[in-house]
Every structure is written in structure tokens, then in C-alpha cells.
């Protein structure tokens, strides 16, 4: 009984805020007679979602696949490279400042190049999701490993533990809270990366993911469809964020304040 109550307690405040915002939105559209191609009401967005459900849910599935694979890759590559940078001081000094490029170069600018390198479809979208979400994971992992308690590190040294063993038994568990902070940020960014990647590099028609649906609906002034696709992309982001939180809670809940 405890967990459903905790979940309910954490869900109702944002749910109320969302309801209030949707009501205000609806009211504004009706009161100011805003045309639907400029801003549809939440109700017409819902209607559009219902009408196009099979197409939209299939598109969401495609975007979710690219997001999950891109996020998974950024999690694995980010944790491994953050760990390597921590273990090799020279690499940290030489390479870490360059990883900032991943954060600073606008994805929109490099997305066309990803299409050239990886071709149209899933691979270039996965690459976009991965590139845009990897930096927080690298930074979180590195920060966590750099902040390992000096006393505990000394204890491992006394017991002649090697660097890999110390990383595995001390560094990695110690840095998990910081890694999960990076993963939470990366979860949202991976969805953004996938959608932007799809703007440029996704197939259209029957194989269209959410990003491609958004661009084609925009060209046809189907604003309700755009909103419906954006809402589904946002839900995808929330779901991934929730999943990361759940895994973090399972791993850290028993011993770390951040997950309680």
C-alpha cells in the first residue's frame, strides 16, 4: 500500500497544474477566437490524436526506438568514457574540454551531416539522439568519480586494490547518484535529439516517425496534428525520465538520500 500512495502523492500536484494550464489554454483560444491553424484547443488536439491514433502510435514507436537506442548508447558510451577520463589523467586534461563540443555544436547544424554519414532512417536519428544526450552522462560520471571519498580511496590503496577493481567496487557505486543526475538530463535530451534528427533524416509516409509527422503537418498547416505529435513526444520524454528515475531508485534507494 505504501508505494501506490507515494506515487499518487507525487503525481497529483503536477496533474492539477497541467489541468489548470489546459483549461486556461482552452479558455484563451475560445475567448480570443484564435484560429485553429494558429493555436488549436486542447480538445481538438485530443480529437486529432484519436482520429490519427494508429498512425501516431506507430510513429511514436519509431521515435521511441530511436530515442531508447540513442539514450542506451549515450549511457554506455558516456559511463565508459567518463570512467576512462577519470582513470587516465592525461586523457582527462586533453580530451574532456573537447567533449564540451558535443554540448555546444547545435544539433540542427550537424544533423544533415549525420544523414550523409549514416544515411536516411533510423541510424542517423539514433546518432542524433546519442550525440545530443551523451555529454551530461560523461560529465556526471566524471564528477562522481572525481569526488570519491579520499578516506575510502586510501582504504582500497592500503588493500592493494588495482585501479580497475577500485573503479568497480568503489568509484562506480560512489558515482551512481551523479551518473543518474546525468542520465535524467540525458533522457529528455535524447527525445529532443531524436525529433531533431527525424526533422532532417527520417523517412516520410507510412514509415514516418513523430519528427517527420511534425514537419509534414506543419507544411500542410495541420497545427492540431503538430500538437498531437509534440504531446506524444513529450510523453515519451516523461516515460523515459520516469524509467531512469525508477532504475535510480532501485539502485540507490536503500543507501542514498538523492533517491529517497
Amino acid at each position: 500500500m505504501r508505494y501506490p500512495r507515494i506515487i499518487l502523492r507525487s503525481i497529483w500536484p503536477p496533474a492539477v497544474v497541467v489541468l489548470i494550464l489546459l483549461s486556461l489554454w482552452h479558455l484563451a483560444v475560445v475567448l480570443f477566437s484564435i484560429p485553429e491553424f494558429l493555436l488549436p484547443t486542447p480538445w481538438s488536439v485530443l480529437q486529432k490524436m484519436y482520429e490519427q491514433w494508429p498512425r501516431l502510435i506507430a510513429a511514436t514507436g519509431r521515435t521511441a526506438t530511436a530515442t531508447l537506442v540513442g539514450f542506451g548508447l549515450s549511457a554506455v558510451i558516456g559511463i565508459v568514457s567518463g570512467s576512462m577520463l577519470s582513470l587516465v589523467p592525461l586523457a582527462r586534461r586533453g580530451v574532456y574540454p573537447l567533449t564540451l563540443l558535443l554540448q555546444m555544436v547545435p544539433l540542427v547544424a550537424i544533423a544533415p551531416m549525420l544523414v550523409i554519414w549514416f544515411g536516411y532512417g533510423l541510424p542517423s536519428v539514433i546518432a542524433a539522439a546519442c550525440i545530443v544526450s551523451i555529454f551530461p552522462v560523461i560529465a556526471g560520471t566524471l564528477d562522481g568519480l572525481q569526488s570519491v571519498d579520499a578516506g575510502l580511496a586510501e582504504m582500497f590503496k592500503i588493500h592493494r586494490a588495482g585501479r580497475i577493481r577500485t573503479w568497480w567496487s568503489l568509484g562506480l557505486p560512489w558515482s551512481l547518484p551523479s551518473v543518474f543526475t546525468g542520465l535524467r538530463i540525458a533522457a529528455g535530451l535524447a527525445v529532443i535529439g531524436a525529433i531533431v534528427g527525424e526533422f532532417v533524416g527520417a523517412f516520410g509516409g507510412d514509415r514516418a516517425p513523430l519528427g517527420a509527422i511534425i514537419t509534414s503537418a506543419l507544411k500542410q498547416n495541420q497545427t492540431s496534428t503538430v500538437f498531437a505529435a509534440v504531446a506524444l513526444a513529450a510523453m515519451l520524454g516523461f516515460a523515459l525520465f520516469g524509467f531512469v528515475n525508477l532504475v535510480g531508485w532501485l539502485l540507490l534507494g536503500r543507501w542514498h538520500e538523492s533517491a529517497r
Binding site: 575510502l152 582504504m155 582500497f156 592500503i158 588493500h159 577493481r165 557505486p173 536503500r254 543507501w255 542514498h256
Partner: protein
Amino acid sequence: MTNVHVRLREVEKIFPGGVEAVARMDLDLAPGRVTALLGPTGCGKSTLLRLIGGVELPTAGSIEIEPSPRIGFCFQEPRLLPWRNVRRNVALPLELAHASSEICRREADRRLKMVGLSDAADFLPAALSGGMRMRAAVARAFIADPNLLLLDEPFAALDEVTRLRLDEEVAALVREQSITVLLVTHSIAEAIFLADEVMVLSPRPARIIKRFEIPFGERNAALRGREEFGRLQSEIYEVLLAGMGDAA
């Protein structure tokens, strides 16, 4: 168990920045005996212990430990891994020495029984009191059957009653197993209670001002009430005070 002999000759430790922690120190830790280093805060006694433990390297001089030691370390803080339960924390030194999980578990349970923590084996450190955490740290220090035990103000952060009780337990354990022990402490009473020999150190850089042979055999709570204990305590205090005065 083969007891180890620790021999320091002309050992010097100067940290980067020029801080001289230990100055040309000669020290012998006799096999199977407990030696206490007593000195003011920051005098370099913990550095000396870390030099013997191999955590720091001396700037000059030599440190010989024969035969090759199995070192048990107990720090001022328990240094338990918060994500591991007490049993797995205690077993850590064996795990790092690649012992099988069965041996780790069996030995950890044996050591936890020794320090009276069997019931808390599955608890996380956060669920333990300060005294229980320190007991777990003592159990961990003993798990690899050390022949050299280095104690760095192990109970300094505990309340007086818990500290006295743990002193008694450790005194019994080290005497039972006749381990070579180096204890670093601020407490004169703790040094006399646990050690066979007390060395009073000067303020930094550490040098030995005077050695005291502790004449007591059995260590139990009643020892602290004995007249000789009090007299020795005053005598060491005078030497410590005079040493600090010299530095001033």
C-alpha cells in the same frame, strides 16, 4: 602466527610545500607487542603510521617490515561503504585479495561474532550507531588475520563509555592473537591501557621525546582504577606538556 618486526631508520617525510612531518625517526616495533604513539595534534604521528602502512613513501630513510606483513588498518572514521551491508563491508579486504565468496562470508560472520555484531550482519551502515560502525571497522581490520595492525585514533569520535568498552575489546583481541600493533592516539589513558610501550612525540616534525614501558599484564576495566595507572598517566602528561612547551 608469524609476528612481524618493523624497523624504521632515519625516516624523514617532507610533504610538497615543505611541511616536515617526520624528522630522522628511528623506531622499532617489537613482534607481538603493542606500541602507542602519543603526541599533540598535527605532530606527524598519523603520517608515521601511513608510512608504515605503505600509503605514503618516506622522503628519506628506510622502513623494513619482516616478514612480509598482512596489514589490518583501523581509521578514526569507520570508512564503511554505504551501499554494502555490514557483512560485505567486513569481508572487503578478503574480496580485494580475491578470496571466494564462501570464504568471505564465513570469515566475515566469524569476525562479526567476535565483535558482537552478528545480528547486524545484513544491515546497511546507515542503520548502525557510531559504536556499532566502529565495531564493524574493527572486525574488518581483523578479517585477513593481520600480523601487523595499524590503529589510527580508532575510537576518537566515539562517546567515552563506548570508547572504553571498545578499548577493552581490542585489548583482548590483540593479546589473544599476539599481533604487532601500532596505535596512534591523543588519549594518554587509551595509550597506557592498550600498549606495552608508549612513545611520546614532539610537536611537528615528529621525534620521540621519551619511551615508557607499560608494566601491566592483563588489561581489564579495573586497571584504570589502579594507582600505578594514574601515576603513569600523570608522568606521561608531564612529558607531553614539557615537549609542547619546548616547541612553543
